[in-house]
């Protein structure tokens, strides 16, 4: 059974796709600029396998970059945040680096690391690292002194204090850093694939654009969009799990 609301949503969606198809078919907008839904479906049918392999490449690059960016960002953030002096020294440097449009160093990365997956991963890590580290530092710095005094009074070791008191207290701030940073990792990987690469969804988008295969371009965009939505959905769930006690605490 489909609920009435879901049914209505599907109906609206179907109508939008039909209108879209019609606009292109009637020649109101050139098919080179706007691919009709049928063109996109055709592209998927014709080169679905190529796109699937490209998607696997992209997902691998994004997954690896996320893993490294999270580890480095959170790890370094906790280390720097634990010391007042280090945090004060590092935060302005990290903020300035974050403000630089990182894409300007991509030619260097290509020269050093080639145009394969490695340069995408490194660029993805660089894109995501700064907001994650900065938010982690802020989160750790915001932990109230009374918790540290409590930790000492119950004889917690420095490791226990960090892992079991500071980290959970800083977690909401860390997760908001992860949200921003992970989004930037996805963008970083796809964009560098489009600039110069051997594979991946970004590469296919760029490649088909030069051939005016608009249907293929749109299908690639659709895949990139799905990846971004998927990542965002996972982060929202994480955010909700972590955020629940914090919101209740503040209420």
């Amino acid at each position: 059974m489909i609920r009435p609301r879901t049914f209505k949503t599907l109906l609206i969606l179907a109508a939008a796709v039909a209108a879209w198809e019609l606009i292109v078919r009637l020649g109101l907008i050139s098919a080179i600029i706007l691919a009709a839904p049928s063109d996109i479906a055709l592209a998927a049918a014709k080169d679905g396998f190529v796109f699937a392999r490209a998607l696997a490449t992209t997902l691998f690059e994004i997954g690896t970059a996320i893993l490294i960016a999270w580890t480095l960002g959170v790890g370094l953030g906790i280390l720097l945040g634990s010391s007042h002096a280090w945090a004060a020294a590092a935060a302005p440097v990290l903020s300035s680096l974050f403000a630089i449009p990182l894409i300007i160093i991509y030619p260097l990365l290509m020269a050093w690391l080639g145009i394969g997956a490695l340069s995408k991963i490194v660029f993805g890590v660089l894109s995501g690292f700064f907001p994650i580290a900065l938010n982690t530092i802020d989160g750790v710095r915001a932990v109230e002194q009374r918790y540290i005094v409590f930790a000492r009074s119950v004889g917690a070791t420095p490791l226990q204090t960090h892992a079991r008191i500071i980290f959970p207290l800083a977690l909401p701030a860390i997760v908001s850093g992860l949200r921003v940073g992970t989004g930037l990792v996805v963008i970083g990987v796809v964009v560098t694939e489009m600039l110069a690469s051997l594979g991946g969804v970004g590469f296919l988008i760029s490649y088909h654009r030069t051939l005016f295969d608009t249907g293929h371009v749109y299908f690639g965009m659709l895949l990139a969009l799905l990846v971004a939505v998927g990542v965002n959905l996972a982060l929202t769930r994480l955010d909700r799990r972590v955020g629940s006690w914090r919101e209740q605490e503040e209420a």
């Binding site: 009074s153 079991r164 914090r246 209740q248």
Partner: protein, 254 residues
């Protein structure tokens, strides 16, 4: 042997170029099993003294021995602490908060669960083991903090104005219940407050501290029989003791 021995203790703080004398020549003894309260005006160095007793900060001069041992660092097995703010971990239930100090020591789940459930019952929160701090009232949170302080079975409980943030009715009730807990456990309690009523009602001995730099002005034995009831606070004798302490603090030239 006294559980707390404080000898010629002094503490100076350096703030910028100036030196602030927080404590000057403080000496006293506390025998094991007693309930001793330190009263004094705000900012007299009470909390500084407590932090030194807890091994959280070091003294400038003088010596503190806890159970015969000079204190240089916190002694989590000997000293349980309760702060003005309960400082519970918000993502843990009441029971898990009480268990936390034992969890840090690697005590197995079953043992600590059994012990900590009993402690929650002792503080009157047997029904609230699975509630999170945000679901508890201010007084209940402080009860959890007291149970947590008792969890490692320390010999000494240091309490730093634990009821100061509570409303008066809750505060009076908490004091009353704390006495019951103390009578059951007979742990030494060293309690800090700026409320003279609270100090006299709770303790066997009241140490009166001067304004900064903090010194002990007098040690006043409180000889009301136990168990004490709240009506005691309205009696003439109680009032006389309160006046005496009040004058001690007020009449001391700064």
């Amino acid at each position: 042997m006294p559980i707390i021995e404080v000898t010629s203790l002094a503490k100076d703080f350096r703030t910028g170029g100036a030196v602030v004398h927080a404590l000057a020549d403080v000496s006293f003894l506390v025998e094991e099993g007693r309930f001793v309260t330190l009263v004094g005006p705000s900012g007299c160095g009470k909390s500084t003294l407590l932090q030194i007793l807890a091994g959280l900060i070091s003294a400038t001069r003088g010596e503190v021995r806890i159970a015969g041992e000079p204190i240089r660092a916190p002694m989590p097995d000997k000293i349980g602490m309760v702060f003005q703010d309960p400082t519970l971990l918000p993502w843990k239930t009441a029971l898990a908060n009480v268990e936390f100090p034992l969890d840090l020591r690697g005590i197995d789940r079953a043992t600590r669960r059994k012990r900590c459930s009993e402690l929650l019952k002792l503080v009157g929160l047997g029904e609230f083991a699975d509630n999170y701090p945000h679901e508890l009232s201010g007084g209940m949170r402080q009860r959890v903090a007291i149970a947590r302080g008792l969890a490692p079975d320390p010999r000494l409980m240091l309490m730093d104005e634990p009821f100061a943030a509570l409303d008066e009715q809750t505060r009076t009730r908490m004091g009353h219940d704390l006495l019951e807990i103390w009578e059951k456990t007979r742990k030494t309690v060293f309690f800090i407050t700026h409320s003279l009523t609270e100090a006299i009602y709770l303790s066997e001995t009241v140490l009166v501290m001067s304004a900064r730099p903090g010194r002990i002005l007098d040690t006043i034995p409180i000889e009301f029989p136990r168990p004490r009831e709240l009506d005691l606070i309205g009696t003439e004798r109680f009032g006389r003791i309160r006046n005496r302490i009040w004058h001690l603090i007020a009449d001391t030239p700064k």
